[in-house]
Amino acid sequence: MQLRRLFLDFLPLGSERKVRDFLHVKLVLSAMRMSSGTKPAEASLPAIRELFDKSRGERYGLTLAAFEAILEQVAEKYSPHADQAKKLELWQDLKLEELALARACAHGHEEAWTEFLRRFREKLYEIARGMTKEDSNGRELADSLYADLYGTSEKEGKRVSRLNFYMGRGSLEGWLRTVVAQEFVNRYRKQKRLVSLEEEGEEGVQFPAAESSFPMPEDVRLSQATDEALERLTAQDRLILAAYYLDNRTLTEVGRMVGVHESTISRRLEKMIKLLRKQVIAGLQARGMKHGQAEEALEADVRFLTVDVRRKLQENRPAAFQEDKGSN
């Protein structure tokens, strides 16, 4: 059995049970193939047939009916009340070949797994290594993900492969990258919670004083006016602000995140800050402050906010960040 050998070579020690499960799923798949031959006639809609041909799913043992069921699942998820024309529009934009490959893997198709491993095995290790910045951790991260992709958990007696959640909206490699990133961020957060007080003490971490000991003289009007101004921003602009100020991303990093050039981000940030400042001052004036007082309120609060901001930033940052950008 080529696939059995493939997995025994590939999976971590003690994974023979997974292979047995896998072979069981192959039987299920065979049964599925046999039964799907009697699907209703609508499965042969020319447009779907065209998409099926494009996906080359036949190569991985997918039938037209099974493929149609996958497409319907995608439509149900992302466009639940759409008519057939809208669905077709959605389907045409999918990465059909990779969707077929992923689903065939999820169903345990031998050739699909061979192809998947050929294309992504090393790539996945590279991605994980790139995130962990360390070889053994990267390998461990990738291995744990492979177990998920293969499907080690069971639901109603069936193996659940994470590849079943790939819907083909982006590339399969991109999806794998995102899944690794999610796993990495989740692990980091778990590990962060598990760091003992002793460890922190040994590392010389200074524990913050109790919250109540910080003076918080923030004028509630200032918060309200600022929140109001922030709410007026577009979602993209708020994302840019959050990435830049909260996550301490560089202009290039923010630019990549939203798909524009860093110089555009720089210009946009500059404009945004000016506009926000103007709006906050106007908001404070509307709340009874004079212009001079409003200006003063913005500056006066800095001394206290510095402390508060630092603490806040520590709370929700899930990963190592770059040098802080002047919060002092």
Binding site: V179, L222, L239, G255, V280
Partner: protein, 446 residues
């Protein structure tokens, strides 16, 4: 102002964290810019409030290839020359120096034959025999993520004018220059007292093409288009007869020229010269989902001088050129050879492995091989008149049977752009004018 920044930090940090997070599938589509506008907007809303997902999105970005500065800027700068801006803009045109413009995606006869040889019972490596005429050149600049599949149809004639950049907002880039071999260097000036630093856009030579890994350096807004060294134009506006093509609608830019080959030296020379050839071809991929259809249309834009970009209909082949350019934009070259009837591939020419997965199943003994685009395009043929094709460096394969399996073997394959010619051992010949979609037998067996 510092105080205000801190205030913003504080208020942004107080927003409630969302309890439900988007799935990997949606985040991937967001990163690859495949999401429809409404969904993208919803996801932006989420990301603006969710540090967790922002972190995931950040980590999920494909890594930027390492940049290595080779050489230094030339001592004598042409920045100070009078009319520098115009010259700078013209340099974009000069990227495609001496281009024949009419149908740039169709090569002159035999001009794109990267490797075409018979490999009868031979273990000779393709590159060893690849004494080829100088290939045509292409520069491919990719903006954002690969776009969805194109329809390949553009049935409208458009005219677009791009005025040359006279002024530039801050921050700005200096006119990029060539430094060493393979890098464009530009100095970035931050606004006000902001940082001033040098950026390097690596250019990679890949056989017939020069690839600008410029996705992180390309700035196209609704009024401004700038690809270092390639495009510099402001106020992209359309003539009355044509629909507006906004910079923000453009998902990908491809620039291509035919002969003569573009060399780094040629670009540098052209940049400081006033006699700049005024022809090049620029492909813009413009999604038209905001208009009548969700499908894409491709536009071909001919640079018609320093200050004009006139676009005409995108003929057949433009779409596939863009597709293949996008596909290979981030991949290294692939080497191929046939040994003992097996089709082997390697990325480093040190380790070779069998490349065609169904060889044993179909019982093929390979005898002929032809590659193009640095090995990303490969055709191989052999026994039973079986021809196999991969357009992405051996990831996916198509298999063709050109005739009755008992009629012999394939012994020679030639590639000339989209034109393919295959010869059989019984003196048969098949041709395909469209990259292998349709085949015609032009010579019957003896």
């Amino acid at each position: 102002m510092q105080g205000f920044s801190n205030l913003l930090r504080q208020r942004l940090g107080t927003s409630a964290l969302p309890q439900v997070h988007p799935e990997a599938d949606e985040l991937t589509a967001f990163i690859e810019q495949c999401l429809p506008r409404a969904e993208r907007e919803r996801l932006l809303q989420h990301l603006s409030a969710c540090g967790h997902c922002r972190e995931v999105v950040f980590l999920s970005q494909p890594e930027i290839p390492e940049i290595q500065v080779v050489g230094t800027l030339p001592k004598r700068s042409f920045f100070a020359l009078p009319g520098f801006r115009w010259v700078a803009t013209a340099a974009a045109v000069a990227v495609a120096a001496g281009v024949a413009i009419e149908r740039p995606w169709q090569m002159a006869p035999h001009s794109d034959v990267r490797s075409s040889q018979v490999a009868v019972n031979s273990s000779q490596e393709p590159h060893q025999a690849a004494v080829q005429p100088p290939p045509p050149s292409a520069i491919v600049g990719t903006i954002a993520a690969p776009a969805p599949a194109a329809s390949g149809q553009a049935d409208t004639v458009h005219s677009v004018t791009a005025e040359a950049s006279q002024t530039r907002g801050v921050p700005s880039y200096s006119r990029p220059t060539m430094a060493g071999q393979g890098n464009l260097v530009a100095t970035y000036s931050g606004s006000g007292d902001g940082p001033r630093r040098t950026e390097v856009v690596p250019l990679q030579t890949r056989g017939s093409s020069v690839l600008a890994q410029s996705e992180n350096y390309v700035n196209i807004s609704d009024r401004y288009a700038y690809v270092p060294g390639l495009i510099e134009a402001q106020s992209i506006s359309s003539l009355p007869a044509a629909p507006t093509v906004k910079g923000t609608d453009i998902e990908q830019v491809f620039i291509r020229s035919t002969a003569p080959p573009i060399t780094f030296e040629a670009v540098q020379k052209s940049a400081s010269s006033s006699s700049i050839p005024d022809t090049a071809s620029v492909f813009y991929r413009v999604p038209t989902r905001t208009r009548e259809s969700s499908r894409l249309k491709d536009f071909i834009h001919f640079v018609g001088g320093v200050d004009r970009i006139a676009s005409k209909r995108a003929p057949e082949g433009a779409s596939s050129f863009m597709e293949s350019s996008a596909r290979r934009s981030s991949q290294p070259g692939v080497h191929w050879r046939i040994a003992e009837g097996k089709l082997l591939k390697s990325t480093d020419e040190a380790q070779w492995r069998e490349a065609y997965p169904e060889q044993d199943q179909l019982n093929i003994q390979f005898r002929a091989l032809a590659t193009a685009t640095e090995g990303h395009e490969v055709w191989a043929g052999g026994s039973h008149l079986t021809l196999v094709h991969s357009w992405n460096g051996g990831v996916n394969w198509q298999t063709f049977n050109l005739g009755n399996p008992t009629d012999g073997d394939i012994t020679k394959i030639s590639i000339d752009g989209e034109n393919l010619e295959v010869q059989g051992s019984n003196n048969q010949t098949w041709v395909s004018p469209d990259g292998g979609q349709k085949w015609t037998q032009v010579k019957q067996p003896n």
